[in-house]
């Protein structure tokens, strides 16, 4: 796979404090890469450095092999979808979309052709004469995407583009965005703090914490084989067992519960069910361990319910292949 963006030992300091310690990352052409992390982890700063709105304190960014250090944002062949869309309020939908083409002095006929194409594509044809104020959040979001992709950028940068929308809309737009990316073949660099969103759309996820990339891998790899404690606890739910220096993570759905009298080699710990939460397709069971000061979470799916009740004493076990040893 060809590398489209390469970050080499990028660093960012803000007034003396290190926001991003030296970091390297390469993004393949046509891939959907998500920068995922809690707020303040440096993911947006990283994206803004790629876009050119922030200057790296040290290091170099390459786009298609060419260094970007002295290239201002308006000469970088990529576009951004902003968090609050940043549409131009004094222009109609159409004028917003055409803005980039006009700035680049694309011939008028070509402008019109691309405008029509992108209006069709984003289902905005009927709203073309409206101003951003007359649009709903979801519609504004479409305009922001249309305004970016009409320029045929090599890379599309997206800064929490669904953050301002309600849950249902977010779900359906996730699918749309993923399809858009597949069909256009544009490289997407997507910033979010929502792990579900990252899981649903990405080819690769870079999990960030305190300016570092803790792990970069496919969603399945990140979920099944988290490398660090941070990744194991930030993505999904996990049980972390400590033995000496090592930590072991076991997903709640991998935890198996037995009656106490089952032979001991099948189980490792014993405890008592303290709480149960019914979620429809599954039940969450919280088990207080006897030998350790810790509560274990187990998922019990509808269909294979053993009929456990709060207060029951249980033995806990898991298959050896279901445990993941973490680096700290």
């Amino acid at each position: 796979m060809k590398t489209i963006i390469a970050l080499e030992s990028i660093e960012k300091h803000f007034s003396g404090s290190v926001v991003i310690p030296p970091l390297s990352l390469s993004i393949a052409e046509g891939e959907f890469l998500t920068l995922l992390g809690p707020s303040g982890c440096g993911k947006t700063t990283l994206l803004r450095m790629i876009a050119g709105f922030e200057e790296p304190t040290a290091g170099e960014i390459f786009l298609d092999g060419k260094p970007l250090t002295n290239v201002p944002p308006y000469r970088r062949d990529m576009n951004m979808v902003f968090q609050q869309y940043a549409l131009f309020p004094h222009m109609t939908v159409e004028e917003n979309i055409l803005f980039g083409l006009k700035m680049k002095k694309v011939p008028a006929a070509e402008q019109q052709r691309r405008l029509e194409e992108v209006l069709q594509y984003t289902h905005l044809a009927e709203l073309r004469k409206r101003t951003p104020k007359q649009l709903s959040g979801g519609q504004q979001q479409r305009v922001a995407i249309a305004r970016a992709i009409v320029n045929n950028p090599k890379v599309l940068l997206l800064d929490e583009p669904l953050g301002a929308l309600d849950y249902q809309l977010r779900k359906s737009l996730q699918l749309e965005l993923k399809n858009l990316q597949k069909n256009l073949g544009i490289t997407f660099v997507y910033v979010t703090h929502d792990q579900e969103e990252a899981m649903a759309m990405s080819d690769r996820i870079a999990v960030m914490n305190k300016g570092r990339i803790e792990q970069i891998a496919s969603p399945a790899e990140i979920y099944n084989h988290p490398r660090t404690l941070f990744v194991a606890t930030f993505i999904g739910e996990n049980n972390i067992f400590r033995s000496g220096d090592a930590s072991i993570a076991v997903r709640p759905e991998k935890i198996r519960l037995y009656p106490l009298e089952v032979e001991p080699d099948k189980h490792r710990m014993t405890g008592q069910i303290t709480d149960m939460v019914f979620l429809g397709n599954l039940r969450k069971l919280y088990i207080r361990l006897y030998d350790e000061d810790m509560t274990v979470l187990a998922h019990e799916y509808a269909g294979d319910s053993r009929g456990w009740r709060a207060g029951d004493q249980v033995a806990i076990g898991w298959a050896p292949e279901d445990e993941v040893t973490l680096r700290c």
Binding site: A51, G52, F53, P72, P73, Y74, R75, N79, M80, F82, Q83, Q84, A86, L87, F88, P89, H90, M91, T92, E95, F99, G100, M103, K104, R147, A148, N151
Partner: protein, 284 residues
């Protein structure tokens, strides 16, 4: 919960103030302009249109035109100087912004008349500028820096600049910087981004500032009086003279009403042009 009716009471003091001290005198002036002046300057309660007929005299027409020219020029120069200043201030750190805004407003703390005479001290023949230039041997004769239309313009812009800077600063402050980043992102150079995004988005500040400066300069009489000398009389000075020296209140009132209508008309045209420019900008 306060009802809208009770909320309206909050506006009452201001409305009463304006009503008693602005609307009422204005109506009196309007009425006066249709009355006659007696031989000793007293008002004769007899309806006439003579006062308005007198304004048609080319003498007054020229003064009106001069006033308009000076006001438009003052507004234009204030805009050209004020916008960059406001822009500069809006890009500073918070604490630095406070200092700059304070500097912009400090002249307001000093009496207007005092400030105008300060300019006289600076610009007159034996003033600061001429003395320095002469002692440096750069000039032999003092330069005529005062008592001409240039010095009037200087004084007007100096006096009215804050009225331009403050509204523009406010609209720049309210503008979401992400919009500017979006413009850069879409390939706009800094100059194009300013022209197509920042300027249209701060249009309200420009319009407000321009109207404040224009309206203030069209009726201005202190600056032309102190810094302009006899030849640079503007319509404000003529009106002042009618009331204070010539004791022709009806004629002064007629001039005031015409001046008011004229500035209202110009402001209306300006608004229309500004809106059309906005619409055109969007369509461009």
């Amino acid at each position: 919960m306060l009802t809208t009716k009770r909320l309206k009471l909050l506006a009452l003091p201001a409305l009463m103030w304006l009503g008693a001290l602005f609307v009422l005198p204005l109506l009196m002036i309007a009425a006066l302009s249709f009355l006659k002046r007696g031989t000793y300057g007293q008002i004769v309660y007899q309806g006439t249109l003579d006062n308005y007929a007198r304004i048609i005299d080319p003498l007054y027409g020229d003064i009106f035109l001069d006033t308009l020219a000076v006001s438009v020029l003052t507004t234009f120069i204030s805009l050209v100087c004020g916008y960059p200043l406001a822009y500069h201030i809006s890009r500073l750190r918070r604490s630095a912004q406070q200092v700059w805004l304070l500097l912009v407003m400090i002249p307001f703390w000093i009496n207007f008349l005092v400030r105008s005479y300060a300019w006289v001290i600076i610009l007159r023949s034996q003033g600061v500028v001429n003395t320095v230039l002469q002692s440096l041997g750069l000039i032999d004769e003092p330069l005529p820096l005062l008592y001409n239309s240039g010095s009037v313009l200087l004084g007007m812009v100096y006096t009215l600049l804050p009225f331009m800077v403050l509204p523009i600063y406010v609209s720049l402050e309210q503008m979401d910087r992400r919009k500017l980043e979006a413009a850069y992102d879409l390939g706009a150079t800094p100059w194009k981004a300013f022209w197509h995004v920042t300027l249209p988005m701060t249009k309200s500040g420009v319009v407000t500032g321009s109207i404040l400066v224009f309206v203030s300069s069209i009726g201005m009489f202190v600056v032309p009086d102190v810094m302009g000398g006899a030849k640079s009389a503007l319509i404000g000075n003529v009106i002042q003279n009618q009331f204070l020296s010539a004791r022709d209140w009806p004629f002064g009132s007629a001039l005031s009403i015409v001046l008011m209508l004229l500035s209202m008309l110009l402001i209306f045209l300006y608004y229309r042009a500004a809106n059309a420019a906005g619409a055109k900008e969007g369509a461009a």
